[in-house]
Amino acid sequence: MMRTVEVLIAIMIMTGAFLTASFFAVLPSPRQVSPLNLSRLSLTTLETLDAEGGLSTVAFDTTNDTAWNQLQVALSACLPSNIVYNLTAYDISGTNGQPLYSASRSISNAQSLGVGSNAASYMVASSNVTFTVTPQKIAATLYILNCSDSNGWWITGYTVQSIAQQFLQMFSSYFNSSSIVMVQNTTQLGQLMSGQPLGNETLQNAIVINTCGEAVPIPQTYAINYSSEYDEYCYQLGRCVNEYNWTWVSIVGYPFYYVTNTVQLASIQNTWGIYGMYCDAAAGLNAFLEGIDNQPYNYNGNWLTSDVGVVSLTTTALSNCSYYGIFPSPTQTATRALPASIMTQYNLTRVATTVLNPTGGTLPGAVFNHIFTGATNVTGSLFALGVTRVPDTRLAALGILSDYNPVMYKSQYTAAGTSALIVLQLGLAGGS
């Protein structure tokens, strides 16, 4: 009998243990077991309501009862009927010791949000605020060759003037207005070559964009003086680039392949039937390179460039596409890529910027800095894009911006009254 009593006592202990364990082992409610992702639903609801900027408008118009009623109708219509909500708009100010967030208006369809709720927040900006990006000004003069007395080659479909306008438009925000100079004719180019600015701009360290493609404008005096060997003009141009530390930009094809002056060379055609243009062929570039390196002039008609086919933008150039908002095709066809050998042959020893990836011993798109042996300062640069026609001015612009790296100053939504925070809290109606 004693054993039976002991067993009954043991059973009582086990019952107590079970009841105690059951008391603490509380199973979650079915809603907690398989919850609706209220946080995501809340966020997507806010995004939907703001798809056309409606929520942004209402958030800053807290006294407009009609607009808030419409918002409540829309909110009620797009949420399932068993969902209760509370939407609150907060002003972001934080000035004069006020709290950073202050509730400006709230709507709800229930007194409370039940036993469990979740929320998402969404930042909206006032439509009265304009987001601006101000580029840092490049401290150099930009000369755009817009010579009315010159023709272009390999700029098929464009004119020299239309390309010049494109560059002017693209660079107008990156330079002070007095630092962008349109060189209107070859006489003005001759003036620059003689060291005289056209206005108050600084001649030294300038950028010169040749918009004539494979041709280069030649002033009349140079055309007369070098009528036996026009490539000597290219040599003089190289000397100027070296002396004034210019960055010469060739936007397409073989640089200095032709010289052009529609008046002085009116009776000469470029072997393709375009008058006002003389074909220097490969000698022009060789002479320019001799000039930039201050070597004595020697006629050299050896072909320099290579056809390397499809090339791609470098990682840096791709990154700068997004930074500067310029989006040329990431792949280009380079049929006039300059060889890397010119770097040692003409002291173009530093590649400051590479726009197109080097391939096969060539640099299809790069800014070469000329530095004399033993010197440290740059004395002239050549930015040659050896791509095939038709030129993409965006590619040249990207290269120049990548070379100078102007900072883009972006405005921020920090001023009081320009931003609001919307919080949508959702709960499930009913009990647990």
């Binding site: 054993r3 002991e6 059973i11 199973l27 907690q32 398989s34 056309e52 219509a77 797009c78 009927s81």
Partner: protein, 395 residues
């Protein structure tokens, strides 16, 4: 001695019974907890799979716009590649093969005179999608993409043509909403048998009342006019659309539009007589309208033709330039007219899409919901997901 033995036996028996009973009790609590844990995991999986579908465009990302890309799809996603967040491609959604599909994806068969019948070979099947999502054999799901705002249109008795437009959301009527509309109607031609497709594309917006209902009357049209009406209701930043088309069966049958392919900015349509045999001439006049977000349609092609028992189908290639829109067709046998409509991009007339396995009878189905946009139209994407391996699926 015998009494002590009996005492031991009785005590042991009672103790053993009590022990087994309590082990059973504890085991039951543990089992319930384990089941709950699996259910929680399924709910989490449901949320993950839904986001995976809605927040990536798939690969190749333009698969909705190209038949060949659809066939070469390596990863599944419905996001519009030109946007971010929860904005879906109207063309990708159109290519989801419905559960009842046979030769054509039967997303809609004559719902209010609307058809969305994409050739099945140009669509993406459910089992391909589960494989691409990595859940083949472990989970089944059903994805339903339905307009957040339902815009119901019905004709109400009147001597002239009078329509009732009812706009409501999942939980509430859309009161005081502005309603824009487009009206197409067919009339028999005085010079031939081809029906004339008339339209009024410049609507004066009306407003719904507190019940979300608005009325529009067309005094110039009789109550037996064959028409196709599209309405867009919007308020508070949310927008929904609906349609009603009078798909009349004439003495020469009716006309059903099929989407044969949709590729490279063009759509190949087939207009088929129904039934295909024993019918006389059925004349039609079809027009495709691109419908941008501002709800101002632009006609992008017109195609008149005839179908009969000898030539029951006519094919027409539309240049869509990858814009969404709708094809509206007026048809008639010379005396009676009807109209049908088919969307190119589901949102242009607010068609819902259901994709995946049948959810009925499944044990413990987790669901999750997202608000999404297709074009400018608000939709809800609801995913129901369940395990195929009982409670053994843990990851």
């Amino acid at each position: 001695m015998a009494g002590a033995t009996i005492d031991h036996l009785v005590a042991f028996t009672i103790f053993l019974a009590a022990l087994l009973l309590f082990i059973g009790f504890y085991n039951q609590i543990n089992q319930t907890a384990i089941v709950y844990q699996y259910h929680t995991y399924i709910a989490t999986k449901c949320s993950d799979v839904l986001d995976s579908m809605l927040l990536n465009p798939g690969s190749p990302s333009d698969w909705g716009l190209s038949d060949s890309s659809t066939k070469n799809l390596t990863f599944f996603g419905l996001q519009d590649p030109e946007f971010q967040q929860y904005r879906l491609s109207p063309f990708s959604v159109m290519r989801l093969l419905s559960p009842s599909a046979q030769q054509y994806n039967n997303a809609s068969w004559n719902v209010n005179g609307g058809y969305l019948l994409v050739q099945s070979s140009e669509c993406i099947g459910y089992h391909s999608v589960t494989s691409m999502l990595g859940i083949n054999g472990t989970y089944d799901f059903q994805l339903s993409i339905t307009p957040t705002i339902t815009v119901n249109i019905s004709q109400i008795p009147s001597t002239d043509l009078k329509l009732e437009i009812q706009a409501y959301g999942t939980g509430f009527p859309l009161s005081n909403a502005n309603v824009n509309y487009l009206m197409f109607w067919a009339t028999t031609s005085t010079s031939g048998n081809y029906p004339v497709l008339n339209y009024n594309l410049t609507s004066n917006p009306v407003q719904t009342d507190s019940s979300g209902i608005a009325y529009i009357e067309f005094p110039a049209l009789s109550n037996v006019t064959a028409f196709c009406f599209i309405a867009e209701a919007y308020t508070g930043g949310i927008c929904g659309t609906g349609y009603l088309s009078q798909d009349t069966v004439t003495n020469a049958g009716n006309l059903i539009p099929y989407i044969e392919s949709c590729d490279g900015g063009t759509a190949s349509m087939m207009l088929a007589q129904n039934p295909q045999t024993g019918m006389g001439n059925l004349y039609f006049n079809a027009s495709f309208y691109a419908l941008p977000d501002n709800f101002v349609p632009a006609q992008a092609g017109n195609f008149p033709g005839t179908v009969n028992s000898g030539t029951p189908n006519q094919n027409w290639t539309i240049t869509t330039n990858n814009q969404t829109g709708f094809l509206v067709v007026a048809y008639g046998d010379g005396s009676n007219c009807g109209m049908v409509i088919t969307p190119l991009g589901v949102e242009s007339i607010g068609m819902p899409v259901t994709f995946g396995a049948n959810v009925s009878g499944k044990n413990w189905v987790a669901t999750d919901l997202r608000q999404v946009l297709i074009g400018d139209i608000a939709y809800q994407a609801k995913l129901s997901l369940w395990s195929l391996q009982g409670y053994g699926v843990t990851g």
